[in-house]
Symmetry: C2
Subunit: 105 residues, 2 copies
């Protein structure tokens, strides 16, 4: 799913990942985290794609919303599990969206 135009400025978290082969519990936790993220104050939407690399971009009203979500206990536990088991490598970038352009055929 592509998230339609929002009104800048707002925030994006670009989370790029390479997974290990030990994916026991990964899918359930990823789905649970998406469900939980949607319930957070300031959550605007999410986009993801995966082939060799996974890219998940979540969109937020402001940095405060992102930091609140980061501190969520269940999310913190999921991240620790991720570092222990599921992720070979990841990079997380917090960005301010300044402009956007959309196209629909």
């Amino acid at each position: 799913m592509i998230l339609d135009s929002l009104e800048p400025p707002y925030y994006a978290v670009i989370f790029t990942t390479i997974l290990t082969n030990d994916l026991n519990g990964y899918k359930e936790t990823a789905e649970r985290m998406e469900t939980l993220a949607k319930q957070q104050l300031g959550y605007l939407g999410i986009e993801h794609a995966r082939d060799e690399v996974g890219i998940t971009v979540s969109y937020w009203k402001d940095v405060e919303s992102i930091l609140n979500w980061k501190q969520n206990i269940e999310h913190t536990e999921a991240r620790e599990m991720g570092r222990k088991k599921w992720y070979k490598q990841y990079q997380l970038r917090i960005c301010k969206v300044e402009r956007e352009y959309g196209f629909t055929k």
Copy 2:
């Protein structure tokens, strides 16, 4: 490929796409655009993934570099072809990367 840590602030262009079924010439053009982007002043790197949705994130030194690349003639032609043939929908977001965190096992 995941792009290693860079030094914020810098810029990210998040390009999310849904393709049509008419992909004649798409792959060659996408590869050519990546080759060409790498030659631009201010280019820092690129990440992409695709399943139902494609997400390409390119990273740039500043907004000026992004606008210069946007105005590149070959890139402009490729965008027009994209809107005519390959893209059912896309969203392009220009963002300032303010913070980042990396993890490698």
